[in-house]
């Protein structure tokens, strides 16, 4: 037997892996190896305990040298796990790595077959198929593409900030794009951080300033990525810089325009303070906004609404001339090699749990609102004054609002137990109120987290295990009059409790951003139905995506706290640095290509390609596949009506021989 092109005799080596008892427990591996030795072209066959181990790989190398093997079959686990390992071993032994074929007799055989005889027969069938296919394999070469060392980071919360600073420190050029007028994200709104009770601003704002002043970072706030072209190493990204109406290069953040605004009093709900405070049409989101540049909201500014404002802000700015009512959105195009998405989360909207009375009872708050309420630079200067003007003497904190709930979100939001403890501590510290936590389970895994829970227990905060049924103003007893009554089954005591309180705090869960699906499409990555971006592997590739060169970090990947977010941000930066410092990316050669003479120019394939790898060359009237973008999914190959697309490693002859092999049980 010789290879398809007659390049000499086939010398196939077959290796059957035991994988401990994973395979050997169900498959008679010795029998499979013995059988493989009888197949045409096979000159050597062995079974071995762990083929992926160093001795296993050494065996392959030694056999290539000694037995002059020119094709190799490994019957073991899924190629997803070890194809890379075995191709590598073959390459080290001097054989082209694409002359190796893996056969999955673990996931697709041993683990899913009850009967030992049947499992052994199936393993033989699969090995025979691989042996039949291999003569058609040709040596293939990997392609190398250079990597542009500039990086795009999308989202300027703590994740984006940390990634950007890490990359900038390594000397890489970073574009940090943020859609809000300032970076800082949700963390900037927090008062303290658990469990250490560090002031969030104190640990965050130095990093924000560092971003602003770092020569390697270009910071674009009020900006959205609108278009992404290209591929790993060579992305072309279009960013829309929305008009701020204040020139960033001229404004010094002196705030005199704000003081001079024709609105003497701030009148409009202030986004940063969750609408609990007021701002003017020209404003700074918060004192440490970065960049410290005023912004004009055209929806509330009189000049934009009527064109007849006295423009006292412009007068106040005087010679600086930073205010520009004519400013337009500006499109910027940048070239980067890699992308980190750190677009964060959206807090659950408690209007979807009407039984807790948010929006109906004014003293029901979300946790993020309370963060602002207890913050010294918040709307009440850190005094806990409720919407009715009073200070609460009793507070109920309801956990798992929009988390672990079949009716809203099924997942645990991971941070709510801990931030509820933190808020309980802060509310007690600020007001001396009695605090009641209503929880399903307390989830406090994390360094010094459970100790913090213990501290709260010692502080005399009450904990009631039970899901809250409702918050109501329907009273039954005199002590409930004028209060909000929290009704919950106390599942430890075994009865229904009614706890009257002045203030209710809803520990709202974390959701994916409302526009997560749009961002997903823009960057061609995957996103779960819940709105969180999908990592390439939940354990082993947690910040990679299925699109090379695009990484994810922080809560856009799933709910997580600040330490985990920062860890991921660092990891994403490291992954990016690995690509940049390698200088180029290797591309697998399992790509498709057009047989130009046979292409009829029907364009069927163009629309089908999920990776935008196929374009239509108008003057030639032929399709063309960009091998750098092609992921080798095979969709176009199968769809082509004239059969004029071929794919490396999936040639017709290879596939048909494999099928014949499976079906030709002797």
């Amino acid at each position: 037997m010789s290879d398809a092109k007659g390049n000499g005799a086939m010398r196939i080596g077959v290796y059957v892996c035991h994988c401990g008892t994973n395979i050997a427990g169900k498959v008679d591996v010795a029998e499979v190896a013995k059988y493989a030795g009888t197949l045409p072209g096979v000159v050597l066959s062995r079974d071995y305990k762990y083929m992926c181990s160093d001795p296993g790989q050494e065996l392959i190398k030694k056999d290539i040298a000694e037995q002059k093997l020119n094709r190799i079959v490994i019957a073991s686990c899924s190629p997803l796990l070890h194809e890379h390992t075995f191709r590598g071993a073959a390459e080290k032994g001097g054989l082209n790595p694409y002359l190796v074929q893996m056969v999955n007799i673990r996931e697709q055989d041993a683990w899913v077959t009850e009967d030992r005889g049947a499992a052994t027969t199936k393993a033989k069938d699969l090995v025979r198929a691989a042996v039949r296919r291999l003569p058609f394999h040709q040596p293939l070469e990997k392609k190398h593409v250079p990597v542009n060392p500039a990086v795009l980071v999308v989202g300027g919360g703590i994740a984006g900030i940390h990634s950007a600073l890490t990359l900038a420190a390594a000397g890489k050029k970073v574009y940090l794009v943020e859609r809000e007028p300032t970076i800082g994200g949700k963390m900037a709104q927090f008062d303290k951080t658990f469990p250490t009770l560090d002031c969030a601003a104190c640990i965050l704002t130095p990093k924000m300033s560092a971003v602003r002043s770092h020569p390697n970072i270009t910071l674009w706030t009020m900006s959205d990525v609108v278009k992404v072209d290209g591929f790993v190493g060579d992305y072309k990204v279009t960013v829309n810089r929305r008009a701020r109406y204040v020139k960033e290069e001229l404004c010094v953040g002196c705030s005199e325009c704000i003081a001079a605004c024709v609105y003497k009093d701030a009148k409009f709900p202030d986004e940063f303070n969750m609408g609990l405070g007021k701002r003017k049409p020209i404003y700074l989101p918060f004192p440490q906004s970065t960049p410290l540049v005023a912004v004009i909201d055209p929806a509330t500014c009189i000049e934009f609404k009527t064109g007849k404002c006295k423009k006292t802000c412009v007068e106040a700015c005087a010679d600086r001339k930073a205010i520009d009512f004519q400013m337009k959105d500006e499109m910027k195009e940048i070239a980067v090699g890699t992308v980190i998405l750190s677009t964060g989360f959206k807090p659950f909207d408690p209007k979807n749990t009407p039984n807790f009375g948010y929006g109906k009872f004014k003293n029901v708050y979300t946790a993020l609102e309370v963060e602002r309420l207890v913050n010294a630079s918040g709307p009440t200067g850190g005094e806990v004054i409720m919407r009715d003007g009073k200070e609460p003497k009793s507070v109920g904190i309801i956990h798992c609002v929009g988390s672990r709930d079949e009716k809203t979100n099924r997942w645990c939001s991971r941070v709510c137990c801990m931030y509820s403890l933190k808020l309980a501590h802060l509310l007690k510290e600020h007001t001396g109120a009695e605090i009641y936590n209503f929880y399903i389970d307390m989830r406090t895994p994390g360094k010094a987290y459970d100790e913090f829970y213990g501290k709260l227990l010692d502080e005399g905060v009450h904990f009631i295990r039970g899901k809250v049924a409702e918050v109501t103003d329907c009273t039954l007893r005199p002590d409930e009059e004028g209060k909000l009554v929290i009704r919950a089954e106390d599942t430890l005591a075994g009865f229904v409790r009614r706890i009257p309180v002045d203030m209710v705090v809803l520990a709202t869960g974390l959701e994916g951003q409302a526009d997560a699906q749009d961002v997903r499409r823009l960057f061609n990555i995957s996103c779960s139905a819940e709105g969180f971006f999908l990592e390439r592997h939940p354990k082993l590739a947690p910040v990679s995506t299925f699109t090379d060169g695009v990484f994810i970090a922080g809560a856009c990947q799933g709910p997580k706290d600040i330490p985990d977010t920062v860890a991921q941000a660092g990891a994403a930066a490291a992954e990016v640095l690995a690509l940049i410092d390698a200088g180029h990316v290797e591309l697998e050669p399992n790509t498709a290509s057009i047989i130009e003479e046979e292409c009829s120019g029907c364009k069927s394939c163009v629309a089908l390609c999920s990776y935008n790898a196929i374009s239509f060359i108008a003057d030639k009237k032929k399709a063309w596949i960009n091998e750098v973008l092609c992921k080798g999914c095979g969709t176009c190959v199968a769809a082509c009506p004239s059969g004029s697309i071929r794919q490396n490693l999936f040639e017709d002859a290879e596939i048909f021989s494999e099928i014949e092999g499976v079906l030709s049980r002797g």
């Binding site: 749990t353 009407p354 039984n355 009716k407 409702e470 329907c474």
Partner: protein
Amino acid sequence: MKYSYFPGCSLKGTGRAYEESLLPVFKALGVDMTELDDWNCCGATAYMSVDEVKAAALAGRNLALAEKAGGDLMAPCAACYLVLMKTQKRLEEYPAVRGEVGHALGQVGLSYEGKVKVRHPLDILVNDIGVEVISKKVVKPLKGLKVAPYYGCQIVRPYATFDNQENPQTMDKLLRAVGAEVVDYPMKTKCCGGSLTGTLPEVGVSLVHGLLREASRRGADVISTVCPLCQFNLDCFQDRVSSNYEKSAMPVVYITQLLGLALGLPMKELGLHRGVVSVEPILAQRELLHV
């Protein structure tokens, strides 16, 4: 649109004011409705907890008849609605129950494919007919009448097929469409006591009291219901509430009675005289009485 109407035993007995008002209202709205021929007791909530399979067979017979008749099956009584829905789900989800029920139905020459949609009148009024259509047909708006919408526990739990489970809105919408003033009534899905008024009267009456008291404290003139048992409990135990707790005289009517009034249907055809606590004085006070 064609519906089979499943009255259940209440609408022919204690809850007859419900049927008396329901039929003319649907007729006035141009809905084709035929009483299901040869229907039987739904088994109510009690039978389900005694023997699930036999209860499913009993209720399933009605579903089989409805499937033969064609069209959706309207069940106005909250208990009938829930039992029929529950049976439908059991038959869908449990092949063993489906087998046994199928066998039982086969004995009397019936079969059931699972195609019937069980519908509540609120669902049909809001989603099939539409509040705009209804509001256009109003000749006597219920101006000034303050109504507490009371849905009871069964029509949105456990299956919330047509309304919000925590804060149902369909009755609120209908009441507003006919010009009534809807009172914010947080007790709208709380238990009326069910059969506890008979078996553990002190518990049942205390629940009735909570519902009446809250409606009265929020300024309601009447409570509007969609369940014969709720209506019965709230209406008939007010003397007990008055003697055990505080004086209570809150009229409790069916939504269909109020709709009929607003559509200008003759009062005597709406069973408005049947309440233990008479609704007529408050209607007179709000100048809503007509012949």
